[in-house]
Every structure is written in C-alpha cells, then in structure tokens.
C-alpha cells in the first residue's frame, strides 16, 4: 500500500506501538477507528463488510470505506498513522460504537446532555475538549463527522473532514 511505502520504517514502528497501546486500552476489542491506527481502519473495513480505497495527501491520507450498508465512511489518517477524524454519509449512520470506539460512551453522555438543553430536535454538535462529533441530515440521507482536535495535523482545517 502507498501508505506503507511512504512512511516506511517509522510507520511500522508506530504501527507496532499503536497495536500495543490499543491492546492495553481495550483488551476485548481489536481496535476502533477514531484515535486508532491503520489496524483499526482495516478492522472497520472488516466489520462494515466494506471495500477500502486510499487517497494519499501531503498532510494526511484518506481511507474511504464503502460499507455493505451503503454508508460511505472516510477515515483521516495522519503521517504518524493516527486516525484523527472520521466522516460518513448514507441512508443510516454507520456502527457508531465501532467507529467512535473508546469515545463512544463520552459521545452518548454528551448527546443526553445536549438533548436536555436543546428544547427540540436538530443536528447534534458535540464539542468537548478532546472530541468533536457532529451528526445531521434527515431520514434516509444522514451525515456525520467526528475528530480529535488535538490530533488534527498542523495546517489541516477541521472543515476538511467531511
């Protein structure tokens, strides 16, 4: 893969560290995308029964998974091999527990807090210090994105995650 060629040994080392870290953080789950590494991208691909397409850029790579459900999931991977953002579009949301991984519980808690404040329905804008999640659209045409602000590479605008 292009990514392996580009980052060579450095990537492979981080790759190994990433696997170790993921194993420590979540012993019962192989990995999960957001905040994970390339193994998590492949894990998502497997879980979502999707095909994977990779686009290499100067500051990050985009791994686009076309899930069997019809949902298109884009995972944004930094040069250090970290998934710093995900974005999706489809007739349903993707498996958010899988996609948000370790951040899922934090997300659920924030959704409840937001509902109590909003006085009605509307797109979600979860903005925590270490996590941003936005979901919107309407029935049969849903979109969303999530990213870890601290992990977005320098010079990359959050708006590029879409």
């Amino acid at each position: 893969m292009k990514l392996d060629m580009k980052f060579g040994m450095k990537f492979k080392t981080l790759f190994a560290i990433g696997i170790a870290a993921a194993a420590l953080a979540s012993p019962f789950r192989a990995s999960a995308s957001l905040g994970g590494d390339m193994t998590s991208v492949r894990d998502d691909q497997a879980k979502l029964q999707g095909t994977l397409q990779t686009t290499s850029g100067n500051t990050y790579n985009v791994h686009e998974i076309h899930a069997a459900s019809g949902v298109v999931l884009r995972e944004y991977v930094s040069p250090s091999g970290n998934v710093f953002g995900v974005a999706w579009k489809g007739s349903t949301h993707p498996d958010l527990r899988q996609v948000l991984g370790a951040y899922y519980d934090q997300y659920v808690q924030a959704v409840h807090a937001q509902r109590a404040q909003r006085h009605g329905h509307g797109p979600l804008t979860i903005q925590l210090s270490g996590l941003v999640v936005q979901t919107g659209g309407h029935m049969r045409a849903l979109t969303g994105r999530a990213y870890i602000p601290q992990n977005v590479p320098a010079g990359v605008q959050a708006e590029e995650i879409r």
């Binding site: 029964q49 899930a67 069997a68 459900s69 019809g70 007739s91 349903t92 949301h93 993707p94 498996d95 958010l96 527990r97 659920v108 959704v111 409840h112 937001q114 509902r115 109590a116 404040q117 909003r118 006085h119 009605g120 329905h121 509307g122 797109p123 979600l124 804008t125 979860i126 903005q127 936005q134 979901t135 919107g136 659209g137 309407h138 029935m139 049969r140 045409a141 849903l142 979109t143 994105r145 605008q157 959050a158 708006e159 879409r162």
Partner: protein
C-alpha cells in the same frame, strides 16, 4: 449526474401542465366554492406550542397536532393521540408506547413480530411495527404500518441499532412523530433486498431475540398521506409569520393535505424546486453549493459552521449561533429542475432570543457543516409544499418542494 432526473422532471411538468390545460378547467366549476366543499376534510389544525413534556422544559419551534389511530377496521378501538410532532424530514407515523392505550395489530412475518430501528439526525427510535387505521382531519390511511416506539414488549435494542435512543417522552419531546416528507417508505428498496444493505433497520423478533430482516415496500412504515384515498400527493404546511423581536407563546396554523386537489390547496404562484427522492435540493451560499432540505422537525435553521459563516456559536449552546448582532443570511436555492430562488432568513442571538416562555421563536440558527437544514423558523410566514415521490400534481410529479415568500 443529475441532468437525467432534471430533464425527466421538466418533461413531467410539461405533461402535467398539458393535462391540466386539457382537463382541469373543464366544467368542474359546478362545485360551489362558498360551501368550502371538502375545505374542512383536508385541513388539520397545527400548533407551535411548548409540547407535552414538562421535564424537558418547553419545546421550542416544534409544530404539533393530533392523530387518531384505530385497530384496523375498528371504529371503537380507537385513540386520539395529541402532541404529535409534524416532521417533513421523515416519513411514517411513530407513536410512543407510553402514549398509546388502543390495541393495534402487530405486524408479523413468518409468524414472528417485526420491529424497527429508525435512524434520525440526532438518534433513533426502536419498537414494533403495527398496523392501524390512521385518521387525520377527514382523511384516512387504512391498515397503515406505523412504528410504536419504546414498547416494553421489545425491551432489547439490537446491537447494530446505532446512536442514542429517543424512546421516551423526555428524549422524544413529543407523543409521536408524523413523518410527511417526500418519500413514501421510511427505508425503500434497500430494505427489500436480502443481505447487508437492509442491516440495522427492520428486525424479525422471535422469542430468541431480534435479527435483521428484509421488509417489502408495502410492509414498511410509511408516509400516511400517500395512503389516503384522496389528497394523497403531498402536503402544505401553513404557519403565520413571527417577528424576531416578538416571539409568540403559541402559533396556530394548518396542515393541508393534497396539492392542487381541492380549492384550498392550489399551488398558486410559487417556484417548484425538484428534489432528489429524499427531498434534497441545492443551496448556494457565497458561491459555494451545499445540500439543502426543508425539515419542520428541526427546531432552528441549521447551516454550515462558524469558520464558513463567520457567526460564532453560543458559549453555552454549541448547537446554536449567537451573533453579536442579528445577521441576514441570503442564499440561492436551486432545484434539480434548475429552478432557482433567493430566500433570506435572520439569525439572531439564541441566548437573548430564548425567554423560557415562548414556543415560537424566529431567528434561531445553529451549525450543521456542509448542509442547510431549513427548520421550522423558515416555515414561519411561508406556505411550504412537500410533493411526494412519484405522485402527480398540477405542478408536476413529485418529489419536489415549494414555498411562498413571506
């Protein structure tokens, strides 16, 4: 890619116009319009009010109405459900189990009950699919599949039903949702094919637990309007204007069934915006194209983000905008039929707009990256037309959307 539906749409418009020119103005004028023949039968009063949930606090910018459901064929096993939210962003009637006392007919397949996980922008509803005769104004949809939300008989939410449940009054903020959008079914062909595309929507629920299943189009939860015997090609949502400086405690309006089917639902002089099957059109802001849609179930006009608009979100509400001074946002809406219009709307400071008393508040806006969700404040002072996918109207075959200018 969209040139084909666009051309097809224009041809259907032309055909409809021709058909109308030939037949519509023929001797039907024998109808006495002063009697308002049928004027009541297709008009349902709606109200923007604080909604049914005290715990949640008052509902802001939601339009509610009542819907009567009966067990199929019964005139006695019936119940009128109040405080049902009108949602042009979805399709299908959904009623909270906690608000339902009438006994409806459980839908089954192969002897097993069917349940659904319906996904929305801010969560999902889970519960059994049941059939009911649904009565609104003088209209009736017979044996319509609807969703009963949060039934204690289906307590286990499947693992692949994703997001955060909206299965209680506190989470839903309404006794139900009346989905009257452009689509007929709430899932469509994706759910009819075996294999993964149907995963996570319809479930077969034997005692051993619920598993993904396919669901035929007529069995899916669907837009009640399309199942009416008459006035079944769409709806008009009519709400009076609201001043940004003077919110209203409540606001009364009408939900009118049918487009061009009665003297009270003519299209009039409005621009018709062809949409994709789900109700989406193009919205251009500062020369950039985005996706736009009209969604009465969203309680503000949600669009783009602070870096793009230059409007800050509120310090306390990340989901609303709080500009220092009221902003006028001008956009161009373009239909798939290439029709264009240039609406504008106001965005005020949510912190000062919300006063804990009023339910109808103009100028409420919030972020939604890459999209324009024209929520209920956009409906104030406009008549909004939603034409259902594949249904003929005097303005052409749906799906389309149209709105009068305030």
């Amino acid at each position: 890619m969209r040139a084909i539906p666009s051309r097809r749409f224009m041809i259907s418009c032309l055909l409809a116009t021709l058909a109308c020119a030939l037949g519509c103005s023929s001797p039907s004028s024998t109808t006495n319009s002063s009697t308002g023949s049928g004027s009541g039968s297709n008009v349902q009063p709606i109200s923007v009010n604080t909604g049914p949930d005290i715990q949640l606090g008052e509902y802001i910018d939601g339009a509610f109405t009542s819907v009567t459901v009966c067990a199929p064929g019964s005139t006695t096993n019936c119940q009128t459900i109040s405080d049902v939210l009108i949602d042009t962003g979805s399709s299908g009637l959904r009623i909270l189990s906690s608000a339902l006392t009438a006994t409806l007919a459980q839908q089954t397949s192969g002897g097993n009950p069917i349940a659904e996980c319906a996904q929305f922008e801010d969560g999902f509803t889970w519960g059994p699919v049941q059939t009911a005769d649904v009565k609104i104004a003088g209209e009736q949809a017979s044996s319509l599949p609807i969703q009963v939300i949060g039934s204690p008989n289906f307590p286990t939410i499947p693992g692949d039903c994703q997001g955060v449940a909206e299965d209680t009054l506190a989470d839903l903020g309404a006794n139900g949702l009346l989905g009257i959008g452009q689509t007929i079914q709430d899932c469509g062909v994706d759910c009819t094919e075996s294999g993964a595309p149907s995963a996570g929507v319809y479930y077969s629920c034997p005692n051993s637990g619920c598993v993904d299943t396919t669901e035929s189009l007529p069995s899916q939860v669907q837009n009640p309007v399309a199942s009416f015997a008459t006035d079944n090609n769409g709806v008009i949502v009519e709400l009076p204007a609201v001043s940004i400086s003077q919110p209203d405690a409540t606001l009364s309006g009408s939900l009118i069934f049918g487009i061009g089917t009665q003297p009270n639902n003519v299209l009039g002089n409005v621009t018709i915006y062809g949409t994709d099957p789900y109700g989406d059109f193009y919205t251009t802001y500062k020369s950039v194209n985005y996706t736009g849609f009209l969604d009465s179930g969203s309680n503000a006009i949600y669009f783009l983000d602070s870096p793009t608009t230059g409007i800050a979100t509120c310090a306390d509400y990340t989901f609303w905008y709080c500009p220092a001074t009221t902003q006028t946002i001008s956009v161009v809406n373009t239909g798939l039929n290439d029709a264009t219009g240039s609406p504008s709307f106001l965005v005020g400071n949510a912190d000062t707009l919300i006063d804990n008393n009023d339910a109808a508040i103009a100028g409420l806006g919030g972020p939604l990256p890459g999209l324009f969700d024209f929520g209920l404040p956009f409906f104030f002072g406009r008549n909004v037309y939603i034409a259902i996918d594949g249904q003929p109207t005097p303005g052409g075959t749906g799906p389309y959307t149209a709105y009068s200018n305030p």
